[in-house]
Amino acid sequence: MMRRIKEFFIEKTLLATALLTVLVTIGIIAVLSVEAFNFFKEVSVWEFLTDTQWTPLFTDKHFGILPLLSGTLLTSFIAIAFAVPVGLSISIYISEYAPRSFRKTIKPVLELLAAVPTVVYGFFALTVVTPFLQGFIPGLSGFNSLSAGLVMGIMIIPFISSLSEDALHAVPNSLREAAYGMGSTRLQNAFKVMVPAASSGIIVSIILAISRAIGETMIVAIAAGQQPRLTLDPTVPVETITAYIVQVSLGDVQHGSLEYRTIFAAGITLFIFTFILNTISYRIRKKFQEKYE
């Protein structure tokens, strides 16, 4: 009987730890919503979504999220535009071309790229990549979205290469043999058979990488600048949502002030974006799993 009680108690404790994760999500949504709600009592949603300036820390205050959003999307776009072709090429090379033993060594090595702290990447972008690029692009500002985006791209390469390679690896070998049996070259096999067959896994890897890029903070805070600007020019300083949150946190902002609440309004915008991306990727992944089960 004692044993029954003990088992029961242990099971409920373990359940409680699992439920705590739900509490974390509820906490995130509650904190962001409450503070954002207070923010929107003073600033209209319309202004937030349409004003083209973001200057909460100046005397002439504007609360338009668009400049931060454009900064976030611009740096992310550069990162993705760099990381997707490179990451995909790596995954195809490893699964279709490289010797088998190579796969086992190269994957953990590539994953080191994702293990490097982002503050280190920020330093890299600021002190190495930007000066290097300035040699080719004379007008390049000391802070810019180009080098921040490119370095962020390096960081997310392993997200794409590793997950895509897993997806390619999971394609049944019979498909590969069938393609070769028809006289395909490796390249034809890779792009006409393997990539389509592994497409959902590859799409998931790209979505996760986008989500990662949008939420990345330190690289852009260090190398892209802190000037909210509605622009698509990659050579000038911009500010991302995440960099703005860091900028405010570094200053001395009074708790409960409108400035304090801006970081939650910015935060909830960021959260909504990543939440949508993560949910899409989760759905695709679930569907994909069922197909193979």
Partner: protein, 275 residues
């Protein structure tokens, strides 16, 4: 064409690594001469050449230890529940979706959560404790996912044998599954902690400081950590601080790479044992 793509693939594979190597190389050249015993034991200072990383290093150690203490039991507990106790149903699918989503929440958002809940509502201030709680929540999904993978990898026959001997669920978990998956769990935990060591943004958001005159001596003290110290040095214009940043990065990268190395070693050893 086929050959062209092959070389292109090799080029891409090496591209990131070569860039990283060049960067580390250049940092090493700059920073290594700055590293001496005084750099490690000195307090931060206004003058670059007198500045050290002592307080930041101690802050990182404090945060790491406390984060482990909080995240480990909760993460492993949740993983055990999901793998061995929960039945397929609404609850388990909610938990599943939830954890997958948490893993994708940007770290800076965890900072906002910590700022409001730990720093303000629970009145911990910008203390080591608040920072550790924040990072513990941040790495929780990683710990859960990797622990589940490790438990899942234990052959079903072990469970069958244990249950057939009359063991209860908890006996089977604690006496068979956890020992058998220990290596895999540790691999995941170390990788998660190596991520925590490098985290900067959430700690800046909860108000960890760039300048702390003393190393923390209790969980309620103010603190800084290595990456924040590095960030602080990066953002100063004077030449000398950039050197400090490079030196700090060498120390931070060494810690990260050593942890990753241990994790890979443990994983290989464990996978061999499992077979």
């Amino acid at each position: 064409m086929d050959q062209v793509f092959k070389y292109w693939g090799i080029f891409c594979t090496l591209l990131g690594l070569v860039l990283l190597a060049i960067f580390i190389g250049s940092i090493l050249v700059d920073g290594v001469k700055r590293i001496d015993w005084e750099f490690i034991t000195n307090l931060p200072s206004r003058k670059a050449e007198n500045s050290g990383i002592y307080t930041a290093l101690m802050g990182s150690v404090w945060v790491l230890v406390l984060t482990t203490i909080f995240a480990l039991p909760i993460g492993i507990g949740a993983a055990i529940y999901l793998e061995e106790f929960s039945r397929k149903g609404k609850l388990s699918s909610i938990l599943e979706v939830n954890i997958s989503n948490l893993a994708g929440v940007p770290s800076v958002i965890y900072g906002l959560l910590g700022l409001e809940i730990f720093v303000r509502v629970m009145q911990m201030g910008s203390s080591v404790l608040a920072g550790s709680f924040t990072l513990a929540l941040l790495i929780l999904p990683i710990v859960i996912v990797s622990t589940r993978e490790a438990i899942k990898a234990v052959p079903q026959s072990i469970r069958d044998a244990s249950y057939a001997m009359g063991a209860t669920k908890w006996q089977t978990v604690s006496m068979q599954l956890l020992p058998a998956s220990f290596g895999g769990i540790m691999t995941g935990v170390i990788l998660a902690l190596s991520r925590a060591v490098g985290e900067t943004a959430p700690l800046i958001v909860i108000g960890a400081l760039a300048y702390v005159p003393f190393a923390p001596s209790s969980p309620m003290d103010d603190f800084s950590v290595l990456p924040i110290q590095i960030f602080n040095w990066i953002s100063r214009p004077q030449e000398g601080f950039e050197l400090n940043a490079a030196a700090g990065i060498i120390i931070l990268l060494s810690i990260t790479f050593i942890m990753n190395g241990i994790a890979v070693y443990l994983r290989n050893k464990w996978q061999k044992k499992l077979k």
